[in-house]
């Protein structure tokens, strides 16, 4: 039981995809204009990650190792297409906001990275837990970055006004603020990690 929990929490702190592994930077920067968008992107990626991890750990013994990467990419692309169709049908406005970053989950290094590094070597349950853990780590990171940018830029978190909008500095919602806020958050995270070790 204990090592199952360890797999789950590994993705959130020790191997946080954004702050430690620094993978999947494009959606991290591109969709975190607000906390809600960041969280939606994180959850969408998590859904694909869990499904692809489970399927890849199921087929790992049948796929010849020479063609494993293309095979994994096809599995991931299939789930991304499913996600695209589902989102387009049920949450069209969110699908429009996240735009090109939804199909680009295919080339998100986190998903393929976990397939190769974890799911191709472990059982179904462990791979599923790893998908949940890494997915949660990614979602938390994106929500946090989105919340910080939304708070500094517009004075709101999840559309809840904390302070009047005219005191915010718009640059944090725009492109430069994404880079700067992420740089500061990574620095903060590594400082905290260094202290706790």
């Amino acid at each position: 039981m204990n090592d199952k929990l360890k797999i789950l929490f590994n993705g959130i702190i020790a191997e946080n995809p954004t702050f430690v592994l620094m993978l999947g930077m494009c959606p991290t920067l591109g969709t975190t204009g607000s906390a809600l968008n960041g969280m939606s992107m994180g959850l969408a990626t998590m859904a694909v990650l869990i499904c692809s991890n489970v399927v890849i750990s199921l087929i790992k013994n049948f796929v010849p190792s020479k063609v494993r990467i293309p095979a994994y990419i096809v599995v991931i692309a299939a789930f991304v297409s499913v996600l695209q169709l589902v989102m387009e049908a049920y949450v069209p406005s969110l699908y429009a906001t996240l735009g090109i970053f939804i199909p680009l989950i295919v080339v998100n290094c986190i998903v393929l990275g976990r397939a190769e590094a974890f799911a191709s070597r472990h059982g179904v349950l462990d791979s599923c837990l790893d998908g949940i853990g890494i997915g949660l780590g990614f979602t938390i990171a994106l929500t946090l970055l989105g919340a910080v940018r939304e708070f500094l830029g517009t004075g709101k978190i999840f559309d809840l006004t904390i302070y009047p909008e005219q005191f915010g500095s718009l640059v944090f919602v725009l492109a430069p603020g994404a880079f700067i806020a992420l740089g500061l958050l990574i620095a903060l995270f590594s400082k905290l990690r260094a202290k706790s070790c």
């Binding site: 620094m22 993978l23 930077m25 494009c26 959606p27 920067l29 591109g30 293309p70 990419i73 096809v74 692309a77 299939a78 991304v80 297409s81 695209q84 169709l85 090109i100 199909p103 680009l104 295919v106 080339v107 998100n108 290094c109 393929l112 640059v171 725009l174 492109a175 430069p176 603020g177 994404a178 880079f179 700067i180 992420l182 740089g183 500061l184 990574i186 620095a187 903060l188 590594s190 400082k191 260094a194």
Partner: protein, 193 residues
């Protein structure tokens, strides 16, 4: 002619792929420690992006749209790009070993460069014709090369400065990228035609 110039200026400066669209960040951060490797990566991306956009555009126009297979776009495009990169590696090794040794290490990395797939999807979404798509892909790649080259120049200098321990490496690089993005915002509002 004017539209093409407008596409080029917009793609390079106003809507720069790295600083405004947030695509291709992984190589932008990962391969920008040295100016020479940054330029190599830029060249490889230009090469692949041009070919990939032309091929995926034709596939979309001749196969996916006429047969109502639009929902297969993501799968088809990523497979085409992956196959293209593999083929390029083999062909370049045979016919242009000099170019291969210059681009070689960067080629496999490009399959997961979201800028390539991003441009291929964007041109279809924007409904560009083949000529516009190729011009757009080329200009975007030039914009990417310029961004990564400028950034590598900054990081070469940055390696010699004393930065607080927690900020070393990626964090300070991110903040520099933010300042660069701010500079690029100065181009927004430029309109031609």
């Amino acid at each position: 002619m004017l539209e093409y110039i407008s596409i080029i200026i917009t793609a390079i400066f106003v809507n720069n792929i790295v600083f405004a669209q947030f695509l291709g960040i992984c190589p932008f951060i990962g391969v920008s420690r040295k100016l020479s490797s940054a330029v190599g990566m830029g060249a490889a991306v230009t090469f692949v992006m041009l070919l990939a956009t032309a091929i995926t555009w034709l596939l979309q126009d001749l196969v996916l749209t006429p047969f109502g297979l639009g929902f297969m776009q993501t799968i088809v495009f990523i497979l085409v790009i992956a196959a293209l990169v593999q083929m390029l590696e083999i062909i370049l090794k045979k016919i242009a070993p000099v170019l291969y040794s210059a681009l070689g290490v960067f080629l496999p990395l490009i399959t997961t460069n979201c800028a390539v797939l991003g441009v291929a999807i964007t041109v279809v979404q924007k409904g560009m014709n083949l000529g516009e798509s190729i011009v757009y892909a080329f200009a975007t790649a030039v914009g990417f090369t310029m961004a990564i080259a400028i950034f590598a120049g900054i990081r070469e200098q940055l390696a010699w400065t004393s930065v607080p321990k927690a900020m070393r490496g990626v964090p300070i690089a991110m903040i520099c990228a933010g300042l660069l993005a701010m500079a690029f915002m100065g181009f927004s509002g430029i309109k031609i035609g």
